[in-house]
Symmetry: C2
Subunit: 423 residues, 2 copies
């Protein structure tokens, strides 16, 4: 069963439909790995002093751009502004701050987000409409603009082609490690690079979360194709992770494509589009897994695979619900091979399946067959549960569809981190 | 705002539509408070020795009956059996065991559930089809029938009109206190009693949970009216509580009506029906609140009220989602007045509302107005959050609909209890 393989992160991904192998390799760096992108950061003491809390990302050339935003009805001001600015499919810069979400701040919040875009635009000499804004942190606090505006200018002054690593640090909140990745692939004889950075780590759930991800590429691609590819990639990655079921007001994934790779322009279909889309999906899955692994208080990555479902929807629903179940997550934290909670969560997920046909595996140990308990090896199950990556597989034995969802265990530290976040 | 009143549990409930006052009072006892009902218990060492883990409930006269069952696609054997036995709208007895859920046990599970009904039927001299069965405990373990069948006979031998209290204890799993209640009301000059017992306390979520509730009444009522009233009451009570978002395989609420009160028979509409339904709802809300308050690891009851929504659906969705948010629950545990998480959860609930019109209250302290922060009194908010019942109110200012949902905080102990439940 391929889901059981201990996949290395740099393993090549197989195109699901065509089984087309993509020639692709992971390379160092993140958001400044692609040609033409610079990043700069600053310490603006937004929540507390002494840490980088502003990042500016800049494309030295005009770029097509696309974004995917939170489905939450309550959208933070920077989300509303970035949606507006992305309407025409181009962007040159992104301004990000951590420490304050600029959500639920009314008209003032929108004015502040606009001022942030304006400060970067003025420094960089580009139209304000070409600047996206993202914020993460506490909700319902006024933005300390007297610190933020000078911070944006300071970050712009530091823009550099090696600024990606510090930028990945500046956007962190309760994340315990920075998340960045870059891949390189060949498209018609040209080398294309895609890079990105992301942050979690509470409120992570399907349809995004306080999850920010910024991607860049030097590919030549139409705005339409870029948007399609991004939507596909997010569906397979960030929308398949869950930490605690909360979808935030501020989530956003954006991508800018500057075109310095000089490949033949990627349109909305064809082999080049598919290659690009798969590479983008690969990097998004990598970043999403890192976000899940770094969920608040998490001690391990939980990967839930649903095999042989009768529809894509059923596979996705069941995988996401199992990986999001508090009872499953607590059992994984406690290394308790309680597969009953797994089938129970699948049962209330809304997915169609026959409970009397389901097989369940912990790693490669089959613990239930046709919905009934097996006399499985408890010691081996314990060994598997002690790993820092626990794979639970449900085989519905009903059709050809498969889905994977990522989450994390539920630990004492999750409660600790979230019981008093504001102070 | 009436939701802010510190309602006493025995306060009279106001009929929502007619504002009709019901003459009703709480009385001592639970499931044997109504005339004609007996309960007996036994210690069968199902999970561990030394505790009552079997309860039998018996109507000395033929009774109409109704039930509501888990929406989980994976239904435990006793649920399947009880659904079958309730099809004709009558029942005389209920057999309940704790310590094993008899879920995911395949054909054997169904045979075991049938044998449990059979053992009680034989002892009591009633048809097997008149016996309902309920189980709660670990999933996927074979039932220790060699202990259970003698246990059922022992419980039958102990049947008594004062057996309700011990029965409420016998059905507990991780519950920290037994949950029972009884009310008395006048119907056309006759005194009718309704009593019940319930157990939680993990996996509590809308559409039931490992939540069992058994109700009895001496009212004369048709099977159809009984079912309608029960569905209504469950919708307002057990389907509005949440502990951890997991809906179990075993949930069940049942009611038997023996008719010894000799009131004029209650049909599916009319004033008597409404009075009975409101009294039943009252007792179900009382038991549901107790279940929420006793959620695994809970230190306090969380009550979320949504006022002035534009539809019932919106009010219910928002109330349930806020009370089920891990981030809200952790903030309540930590006494952190983080109202941003409240509006955020409402925002992803799927409820329609205008984020820029919402007011939010902690107790009677308004913390947000029109979706924006207020300079509220943090000390007073802290005081409110320290209570053992915390009320959060969202005023959508959009329409006439209201809903209340109950949950609990998320504590270290929730993780502890669930990290290693099986052992």
């Amino acid at each position: 069963m391929d889901s059981m393989d201990n996949k290395k992160d740099n393993e090549m991904k197989i195109n699901k439909e065509n089984k087309m192998k993509i020639k692709m390799e992971y390379v160092d760096g993140g958001v400044t790995a692609a040609a033409g992108f610079l990043a700069g950061t600053a310490m603006a003491s937004i929540k507390k002093p002494g840490r980088r809390d502003i990042a500016v990302l800049y494309s030295t050339v005009p770029a097509t751009a696309a974004g995917v935003f939170t489905m939450n009805k309550v959208k933070a001001a920077p989300v509303l502004l970035s949606m507006e600015h992305l309407a025409k499919g181009t962007a040159r810069a992104v301004v990000v701050n951590s420490g304050n979400a600029n959500a639920c701040n009314g008209l003032q919040g929108l004015q502040d987000a606009r001022a942030m875009a304006g400060a970067a635009a003025e420094y960089l000499g580009i139209p304000e409409q070409e600047v996206l804004v993202a914020s993460t942190g506490v909700i319902g606090r006024k933005m300390p603009m007297a610190k933020i505006l000078p911070g944006i200018r300071a970050a712009c002054a530091e823009l550099s082609p090696t600024g990606g690593d510090l930028a990945a640090q500046a956007i962190m909140t309760t994340d315990t490690f920075p998340k960045e990745a870059a891949v390189r692939l060949e498209l018609g004889g040209k080398t294309v690079t895609i890079g990105g950075m992301a942050k979690g780590s509470g409120m992570i759930h399907p349809n995004l979360a306080t999850m920010l991800c910024f991607l860049t590429t030097d590919a030549v691609i139409t705005a339409g194709a870029l948007k399609l590819a991004l939507q596909y990639a997010v569906e397979e990655s960030f929308n398949m992770i869950t930490v605690d079921g909360d979808t935030s007001t501020n989530d956003m994934v954006s991508i800018m494509a500057g075109g310095l790779a000089q490949n033949v322009r990627i349109e909305e279909s064809g082999p080049d589009y598919e290659l690009f889309r798969e590479a983008l999906t690969e990097i998004c899955v990598k970043l999403a897994r890192d976000v899940a692994r770094d969920g608040e208080g998490a001690t391990k990555l939980l990967e839930v695979v649903v095999l042989n479902a009768s529809s894509e929807r059923d596979a996705r629903l069941a995988a996401r619900t199992v990986s999001g179940s508090s009872l499953v997550k607590a059992a994984v934290f406690g290394c308790d091979a309680n597969w009953g909670r797994v089938i129970c969560a699948a049962g209330y997920s809304g997915a169609e399946f026959d409970p009397e046909r389901v097989d369940i595996f912990l790693g490669d140990e089959k613990v239930a067959e046709n919905g009934c308990s097996l006399d499985f090896n408890e010691e081996r199950a314990l060994e598997i549960l002690k790993r820092d990556r626990v794979v639970i597989t449900l085989d519905f034995k009903a059709g050809p569809f498969k889905a994977t969802s990522w989450g994390c265990d539920l630990s004492y530290d999750y409660v600790k981190i979230n019981a008093d976040y504001r102070t």
